[in-house]
Structures are given as C-alpha cells and as structure tokens.
Amino acid sequence: MNFDFLSNPDYDILGAFWVTVQLTLLAAAGSMIWGTILAAMRVSPVPLMRGFGTAYVNIFRNTPLTLILIAMSVVLSNKLGLVLASKSSPTFIKDNNFRLAVLGLVIYTSTFVCESIRSGINTVPAGQAEAARAIGLRFSQVLWIVILPQALRSVVAPLASVLIALTKNTTVASAIGVAEASLLMSTMVENESDALLGVFSIFALGFVVLTLPTGLLLGWVANKATVKR
C-alpha cells in the first residue's frame, strides 16, 4: 500500500479528525440535554407536551440526516436568514456551517437519545414514582430526583451505541462543507487516485480509534452504573 500522501503538508488529517471530534462532542452534549427534555415531555402527564414530544421524535427520527443538514444550510440559513456566527468575522462561512451542522446533528440525534432514555424510564418500577409522590414530590421532582437517576444508569449501553453512531454520522456534515474527516477524505480520493486503498484505510482506522475506546469505556461505565435492586 502507498502511504506517500502522509508527508504532503496540504493534508491536515489530524486537524480534520479534530473537527470530527469537536462536532461529535458538541452534538453529543446538545443531544443529551435536548433528548432528556424530550423524554421528560414524552412521559409527562400534560397531553400537549406528550403530543409535541411524540410528533418531534417521529418526524426527525424518520428524516434522513443528510436532508436535515442540507435543510439547515439551505432553508434555515440561506432562506430564513438564521445566522450562528458573526458576519464580520473572516471565518464566518466556516463557523456558521460548523454550528449549523452541530444544530442539525442535535436535532436528529436527540430523538435517539430520547427513545433510549424513555426505555430506561420504563425499567424503573412504577412503585418508585408512587413512593416519591407519596412523600410529596411534584412531577418534575419525581422525574429528576427519583426516576431519571435510575433510568440513566440503565441506558448507558444503548446511549453508547447512539454516541458511536453520532461519531460516524458527523461525516454527513461534509455535505454542507464542514471540513471534517470525510471532506478531507473526498479531496484526497480525488487527488491520490494511485493510493486509494491507503487513503480509505487511514480514515477507517481514524474512526475506529475514535469509536472503539468510546464503546469500551462506556461498556465499563454501564456495568459500574447499573442500579442494584
């Protein structure tokens, strides 16, 4: 295999993967927060919130991510004028696209986070919520103090799968020009047609390096966190 391209200073492979990592971490944090709120809505006693949560999850979970990200750029930003960076900044387009990509990933991934957490909530015995209500907790307190701490512990493993899927889904951000790993790969595939196998192997390896430890670490956390009854 030919790895000569590694010495070409135009190819900032580490920099591209760093963008991938940033996309992943920001989108993961956002999805976790928004997904938890969505899950709370889906189990709430208020029909309007339940309806919103259900509709949201069903719409965005079933829309292709590519479509969501392109819509973020074309519809939200170009047509509706949503701007997420300072226009006077020299890196405006780059920043704006990066932030739109994070937002799009959050909108999409939060649906999977929501459904994982909701399945976790269902594993908490109904008696827990009743005991909490009987000692005077309101719905929000029951959820945040008693139910979610137990539910989240039981969904670390499924959330790890969501995180790994998210890491790989960041590659779709190349569709709106975010300079992450797969965009660089496309460029290199065009320029280094004699070293295709090498290029693909490097990027495949890069993703394995990112996702494998994630899976192992969170698998260990899942074991530690399990609620013993």
């Binding site: 827990q128 005991a131 009987a134 000692i135 005077g136 907790l137 512990r153």
Partner: protein, 358 residues
C-alpha cells in the same frame, strides 16, 4: 395525629370498574385499623385513594378537621409504606430516610439528626451508608418504616408491609410493628389479606368484598360474630363449618342430621338458614355422649396442625371439620360424635348470607 373520616367514597376506573364502591368509615385518633379482604376486594385501592395516589370519584376524605379529598399526596400529611418498600436504590439509607424531610424544607442539620435518631430507634444505626440492595428484606422493611416515621405524619398508611418477609420474620415484624404503633400513637391504616395479621394487630378492622365494607368491628367481634357467611369464611385459621339447612319441626334440619335451634336466634318454621360453627367449637368424642344435640359421623381425614389436629368428619350430606387435641387424634374410618359448644353456633339467612338478628 388525627382521625380519618371517609364519607360515601367511590373510586371508579375509566373502564367502569368500581374499586371502592361507597365506603363510609370513621377511624379514631391513634387507632390501629386494618383493612382486610381477599385480593381484588378494593382494600389497596381504598388505601391509595386515602393516600392521594388515586383521585376519588365521589365522596370525601377528612383527616382531622381538614377535607383532603382534592389535595395531592404531599399535602395530606400522611406517610405510606409500600408492599415492596419502594426504597430509592440510588440513595443511601440516610438519604432514603431524610429525603422526604428535604421536600418539607427542613434544614440539613435537623434532617440528618432526625434520620439518625429514627434509624437508631429501629436498630439501623450501622447501616446508614449502605444502599437498599445491600440490605436484607427485614432491614429494607425497617428503612421503609423509618422513612415514614421520620416524616412525623398525622396518619400512617401501610400497604401489606409484612407480606414480603419470610414466615418467621413476619411474626417478629408483627410484634415490632404493633409495639411501634402503640409507642408512637399515630393513627394507622393497615391493608392486609392475611386474616391472622389483622386479628393479631388491629384495634379495629374492616372486612371488604367487591369494593364494599362487609363488617367493621374489633378483631374479637369480627371473629366471634362474623356478620355474613363471606366474613365467616374469610376469618379464622381453619375455615368455619357452614351448612345449608332449614327449620323443620322446631329443629334445624341440616341434611342427614338435626340440631336444636340456638335460643338467641329468632327463626320461623320453614326458614332456610346456614348454620355456622368454628371447628374449634365442635367437641369431638370417640364414643356416644349423653347430649342429644350431637352429630354422628365417620372420620374421613386428619390434618396435623401441631398442637391440634383438624379432623374432617363425614356426617349426612356434609363434611364437618373439628379441631381436636393431638392426644385424641382419631383413626381415619372410625366413628365420631361431634357436639357443638353451647352459645357458639351462628345462624345466617339462607338467601343473602347475613347473620340473623344482626
């Protein structure tokens, strides 16, 4: 501490089933009150409605002088102990006990002090930093009790708190709970399906069937004079003998044998009745006694109860049960004479099973 007053209480589920169907009940201040009944009789629904976990469809609930029918559970000043304890598995024993106090905005120092004091009283002192999964069933039950006690509520609600313990521990816990309730003096409503538990612990009890109360009274009253054949069947370690019969020529014709009409019951010639007598009140003899009011039969089965044996005697169309001291244990197939103890027999109306004259 407070009395509890239920008036015309109904809990109807959306599917039309009435879990609680018109209950009027008055529980005195400091009373230990048992709700007893078979599974599905509505006793737990009644307790949950009292707790505020279910919303009453009709009727009112008063705790003390306050109408709490529409209040959420947290504002009723009650503490509930659940059948499976429902301890929070992600919190330590201390936090489990102190959490309700935090909801009541009691300062941390006092919370911890109260939790520790309550736990010490229930010999949980050394377990304070453990989590519920590291405790035995009996210890978990005491943590659940401590959580309720530390709240200093006006009313305790216990939903079968002993049923998850093994048989021996249950007896210990029974005594413990009774003593605890007496020393705290807090009004307590206790749900159980175990008639022995209700008889042993309650000051007064209500027997429920199909969402309604069938009888209210002290354990002695309910045991000695069950108000209906349903209650008679349900109460007592060995089931009561209940025999269909009719008043014929001034005597009770019970199908194959006759007995005299107990004098305290007012029956007329031809009335259909059910004759009820506890096996403990049927004395057994292996030879014919002098009394005329006796039933002759054949021993069909003998069950060992420990100190006593339960003897099933086939007489006429019926099988009668009698409790016999172990020394007098008869052979299966031998002839036996059974004599009702005077003043112990009960007569129920044949049509609706209600106690005659009650």
């Amino acid at each position: 501490m407070a009395s509890v007053e239920l008036t015309g209480l109904v809990k109807q589920y959306p599917n039309g089933v009435r879990g609680v169907d018109g209950v009027d009940l008055s529980i005195g201040d400091g009373e230990f009150f048992a709700l007893l009944g078979p599974s599905g009789c509505g006793k737990t629904t009644l307790l949950r409605t009292l707790a505020g976990l279910e919303v009453a469809t009709e009727g009112t609930i008063k705790i003390g002088d306050e109408d709490v029918t529409a209040l959420p559970p947290g504002d009723r000043d009650i503490a509930m102990v659940f059948q499976d304890y429902a301890l929070f598995p992600h919190m330590t024993v201390t936090d489990n006990i102190a959490y309700p106090l935090r909801i009541k905005r009691i300062r941390k120092a006092e919370r911890v002090a109260r939790a520790t004091e309550t736990a010490e009283g229930l010999s949980l002192g050394v377990l304070m930093e453990r989590r519920p999964s590291q405790l035995s069933g009996g210890q978990q039950q005491r943590v659940a009790l401590a959580r309720a006690i530390a709240c200093h509520p006006r009313v305790f609600l216990f939903d079968e708190p002993l049923s998850n313990l093994d048989a021996r521990l249950r007896l210990e816990a029974r005594t413990f709970l009774k003593k605890l309730q007496q020393s705290l003096g807090v009004t307590t409503v206790f749900v159980t399906h175990d008639q022995a538990e209700a008889l042993a612990m309650a000051d007064r009890m209500a027997v429920m069937e199909a969402g309604r109360i069938r009888q209210i009274g002290t354990p002695r009253e309910v045991f000695q004079r069950p108000a209906s054949t349903f209650v008679a069947n349900f109460i007592g370690a060995t089931p009561m003998n209940l025999i269909d019969g009719q008043v014929v020529s001034g005597r009770l014709d019970l199908g194959g044998f006759t007995l005299s009409v107990p004098p305290e019951f007012d029956v007329a010639e031809g009335d259909k009745i059910v004759y009820g007598l506890r096996p403990e009140y049927l004395s057994f003899a292996a030879s014919a006694p002098a009394s005329k009011d006796t039933v002759q039969g054949t021993v069909a089965a003998v069950e060992n109860l420990g100190v006593n044996v339960l003897v099933a005697v086939d007489a006429g169309e019926h099988s009668l049960r009698a409790v016999v001291p172990e020394a007098d244990e008869p052979e299966v197939g031998s002839t036996a004479w059974l004599t009702p103890a005077p003043g112990r027999a009960l007569l129920y109306r044949g049509d609706d099973g209600e106690l005659i004259g009650s």
